[in-house]
């Protein structure tokens, strides 16, 4: 490397220095320009456009017509699938978000011990996270099979006669939660990273003061981990609201629309019924819900998230 740099020395001239000075102010923008262009072309532009067409009757072919708030009024007052799909998504989120956080945290704590072969266990727990949503759905479709699936086989050991998961309106959504939990590895790793960053001397000091395991968990682990819990909570909520692949591949929204997620409703309005304006209104409503939830979580976080920096400067 040093030879390369020294050849550059010989190349440099006074003229270039002057030129560089002139160009200096736009160089930073040259570096970030790919993102800036991409932001306008693939994120911000579409975001605005989506808001605009949500006020239009916009079929994929044919005439577009400005309709004001008609799309929004229509979905709130005259579309049963809007409410039912929203209910399905909320139900999914209520089940999935807490379970996902608790299981990911539990597994991370399990993995944060000093025992042999820990990295092997870490690998195994993360493994499902690297395969695709479709492959995951294919595998679980077979695992959930009512008559021949291994899930019901395992359940039969403890005397439970398992349902026909994917064909039972009472259980199909639960099945999706289970399949989603299988791929929770990333969240687990993030928790594990957080656990490793907690200074050991906190625990030692607590031990000297006579704190037991449970006390240490609630008085040290949870507060120290709370910023990461916040991050994971928000990410899980966002993910729950966008759940679509599993439903599309596993059940197609059925049985009896028990897994007809809000995201699927948006998708079908756009690409099955080609109501682009209406579907954009649906999507914006979801965006606002997600923003609102994130805002509430952030606001409440001052009550339960503990930032180390508040106590001592990093």
């Amino acid at each position: 490397m040093s030879t390369e740099i020294s050849t550059n020395v010989s190349k440099q001239t006074v003229l270039q220095t002057k030129k560089k000075f002139k160009w200096g102010s736009i160089i930073p923008f040259l570096f970030i320009s790919p993102w800036v262009i991409g932001f306008f072309a693939f994120t911000f532009g579409p975001l605005l456009f989506s808001l605009v067409i949500s006020f239009f009757n916009w079929p994929i072919v044919g005439e577009t017509k400005f309709v004001g708030f008609q799309n929004y009024i229509e979905m709130f007052t005259n579309d049963p699938y809007f409410w039912s799909s929203l209910a399905v998504t909320v139900k999914f989120a209520v089940l999935f978000v807490p379970f996902n956080l608790i299981i990911a945290l539990f597994l991370a704590i399990l993995l944060n011990q000093k025992v042999k072969a820990m990295s092997a266990f870490r690998t195994i727990f993360y493994l499902p996270s690297v395969i695709s949503g479709v492959a995951l759905a294919m595998i679980w479709a077979w695992v959930f099979s009512g008559e021949y699936g291994i899930l019901n086989y395992f359940l039969s050991f403890v005397g439970i006669n398992g349902p026909d998961w994917l064909n039972d309106p009472n259980w199909a959504l639960v099945a999706m939660v289970i399949a989603s939990l299988w791929g929770q590895g990333t969240m687990m790793l993030i928790f594990l990273a957080g656990l490793k960053n907690i200074p050991q001397n906190l625990y030692e000091a607590a031990s000297i003061d006579g704190a037991g395991k449970v006390t240490k968990f609630f008085k040290i682990t949870i507060p120290m981990l709370s910023p990461i819990i916040l991050f994971n909570l928000i990410m899980t909520i966002i993910a729950a609201f966008q759940q679509l692949t599993l439903a599309l591949v596993l059940t197609g929204g059925g049985p009896l629309r028990s897994t007809y997620f809000y995201a699927m409703y948006v998708y079908e309005n756009a690409f099955k019924y080609f109501k682009m304006g209406y579907s954009s209104a649906n999507a914006w409503f979801m965006f606002i819900i997600v923003l609102g939830l994130t805002f509430i979580v952030f606001k409440s976080s001052t009550m339960w998230v503990y930032y180390e920096g508040e106590m001592k400067n990093k």
């Binding site: 923008f29 072309a41 990295s119 395969i131």
Partner: protein
């Protein structure tokens, strides 16, 4: 104490079985004869292992074409992502300019936008450009960086001592040379992480191909696999055989790059 440790292992092994059983179930089904598939209680080890199932299943649909499309999309988008995200990350990490912190906030905020909101305009945009039913919508956006990768790489660049840059600057290197000759070689570990995540993301992507591709000749593997399930007369061993083959590259990649994935996620993932 002893009891606690063996309890730990019991729990760890119990969870390992839960995580591995579906994989094992897939593999064992893939090599079964038809009459051993529909048995209850299930048969874990097939008595007659049918490796021919893989070949048979692969030829039911033009999976070679799908494979080719998946490889093209994955390779090109990974190249694009490595170049663009590292450039942008360098820009955010190594310069101070007006509005930088605001822009970076915007960049992070875009991670929260649900894809449903941009899906329809993107479809229209790509339609306008004549890109629908081509692989371009799945490739081109990768050449403009992804917020998460930019964030990851920026965090890493900020840990590289500025003295290195200064030294190179004195020797007459310009910013592009500092980026390409100094930062890039040091950045190899997080770049591997970006590459792995992008490869997994592209390979596993389902909604992108579903929305932007129509003709079977353009399908990627995930899309081909999903069509498989609804097809009449496709048997379970074929579905599991193809699923297994599609899972294989990500699993192999994961085992090769494990150290980077697990440790880099843990090291650089959340320090901000």
């Amino acid at each position: 104490m002893k009891f606690g440790k063996s309890l730990n292992y019991t729990i760890l092994i119990g969870f390992s079985i839960l995580f591995l059983a579906p994989f094992f179930w897939m593999v064992t089904t893939a090599v079964k004869t038809p009459d051993e598939i529909y048995l209850f209680p299930p048969k874990w080890i097939p008595s007659d292992i049918q490796f021919g199932n893989f070949m048979k299943a692969w030829t039911i649909q033009p999976f070679n074409t799908f494979l080719m499309n998946s490889v093209i999309v994955t390779a090109l988008s990974t190249i694009g992502q490595l170049i663009s995200s590292s450039l942008v990350a360098y820009g955010f990490a190594r310069f101070t300019f007006k509005g930088r912190d605001f822009l970076f906030m915007v960049l992070l905020a875009t991670m929260m936008i649900p894809w449903e909101v941009t899906m329809i305009p993107l479809y229209m945009e790509f339609n306008y450009l004549g890109w629908i039913n081509t692989l371009k919508p799945l490739i081109v956006p990768s050449f403009f960086g992804a917020p998460f990768f930019i964030f990851l790489l920026r965090q890493f660049i900020m840990t590289i001592p500025k003295e290195l840059d200064e030294a190179a600057k004195i020797d007459g290197a310009n910013h592009f040379q500092i980026y390409s000759r100094i930062c890039m070689p040091i950045m190899v570990p997080p770049l591997i992480l970006v590459a792995v995540f992008q490869i997994l993301g592209s390979w596993n992507d389902y909604l992108g191909p579903l929305i932007f591709l129509n003709d079977q000749s353009k399908y990627t593997l995930t899309l081909g696999l999903s069509q498989f399930r609804g097809m009449f007369g496709v048997d379970m061993e074929s579905i599991m055989a193809v699923t297994f083959l599609i899972c294989l590259p990500p699993l192999i990649l994961f085992f090769i790059a494990q150290r980077y994935i697990v440790e880099e996620v843990m090291d650089s993932g959340l320090k901000g």
